[in-house]
């Protein structure tokens, strides 16, 4: 067996373990929380009172306008100066959640707006309240349109979790770095890490395709077709 393959196989369990207990949970949790933040922010921007709209616009502006790495450093290394001390994993989780929240809020805002106004009226006409109309009529249709752009964000997130290495989260990339520190084989280890990220994002792409097929079975908006 060639040396490089031996090294890859030997380090594989360590990398997979790091992925399993840090990369994957960090991705799933921050996407789930981020999506919730994004939904709330989008609803505020669409339907909220003016002062609140200003607050969430400010949040989106800061989150999208500054580097994610800088945000993570601020939360992990900066906040202790004002007495807020966070462990690495929660710090990363908060950083990614806020970042995902900002990006997905724009997606959700757009897709809610894309549902024809007549659908609101149809929902109201059978007696639905605003929240019933939102839950039963608008969001399911908006959700279908949102799958491709949200999947983009999700796949970016899987790769971006490698930034957490910089604030001491022992996720997959940091695990690779540590092995490099002892073996002096950066090329082999970083190629291996790249391949593992590629596998993760490919799995997500496949899931996206299946979800799209399922959500497309009814054919989308009626008005857009006629």
């Amino acid at each position: 067996m060639p040396h490089w393959l031996q090294l890859m196989l030997d380090s594989l369990p360590t990398l997979l373990w790091a992925a399993l207990i840090f990369t994957v949970p960090l991705t799933l949790l921050s996407f789930a929380f981020g999506l919730f933040v994004g939904l709330v922010v989008a609803l505020v921007r669409l339907f909220g009172p003016k002062p609140l709209v200003a607050v969430v616009r400010f949040y989106v502006w800061i989150s999208r306008g500054t580097p994610l790495l800088v945000q993570l450093f601020l939360i992990f290394y900066g906040l202790p100066s004002v007495g807020i001390l966070l462990d690495a994993f929660p710090a990363a989780l908060i950083g990614f959640t806020l970042n995902i929240g900002a990006y997905t809020s724009e997606i959700i805002r757009a897709v809610i707006g894309s549902v024809p106004k007549g659908q609101w009226e149809a929902a109201y006409s059978i007696g639905m309240t605003w929240s019933q109309a939102m839950r039963r009529t608008i969001l399911p249709q908006a959700g279908r349109v949102a799958v491709p752009p949200l999947s983009n964000t999700f796949i970016s997130l899987v790769k971006d979790t490698s930034l957490a290495a910089a604030i001491t989260v022992p996720e997959m990339f940091q695990a690779a770095q540590r092995i490099v520190a002892t073996t002096y084989e950066p090329l082999i280890l970083y190629v291996e890490a790249a391949i593992l990220y590629l596998v993760l994002s490919s799995v997500l792409s496949a899931l996206q395709t299946r979800l799209e097929v399922r959500l497309n079975r009814y054919g989308g908006f009626l008005e857009a077709r006629s």
Binding site: G127, R144, L222
Partner: protein, 263 residues
Amino acid sequence: MIGLTDIEKRFGDNLVLKGVTVTIEEGSVTALVGPSGGGKSTLLRCINLLEIPTSGTVRIGDETLEFRPGIKVSTRDIQRLRLQTGMVFQNFQLFPHRTALENVMEGLVTVLKWPTERARERALALLEKVGMAHKADAWPATLSGGQQQRVAIARALAPSPKVLLCDEPTSALDPELAQEVVDVLGQLASEGTTMVMATHDLRLASKIAQEAVFLDAGVIVEKGPAAVLFSNPQQQRTRRFIATLKQEAEKEGGGESSGAISP
């Protein structure tokens, strides 16, 4: 009984309804006719409060709501009145992500909190009534316009509204498909369903409406029995409009097959 009293509706500086008063008897069918922009759709939408009147009183059965400029009516009150009505839209507006049956069940399950089985039974009976039971499990996108509109009628009737409001129910359909919808609405009318419809379709209006209201520029120009208003209107303005409708109907389909006028 449905009573609209002194309904005014203002969009910005534009006064669309200028103090309209109409009474609609239970079991009657009333056609709102008139040129586009005359206010008939807006008046119809003031009945189920998709448009909130700037001022005036809306009464449906025992429920009454008064509107005054600058005073916000609670959503609960709006909801209460709206539940007495059902509406059919020009472009159907079925929920595309639900099957025909689910569309009809939606109001019963989500709003009235009926158990699913009971809602399914009622929905199937209504689909049967509009001749769509065989398409109960079809997605709306796979149905023709006429079929979609018939499902939409079943959906509007599901919660047993006191009045069925129809906003140009045949205008988006070609004459053949419009006929299926006219037939269904005619059958409902003969069963005593109270209906108010805004329409350009003289065939629809003259076939099933007993009463007609001619609206132009936000005021009622003339109202009375449909037969009289369509054949022998009293006002010059009404006469001109009805004559145009008839002319266009002849041009379009030789008078026989279509009374639908595209706006």
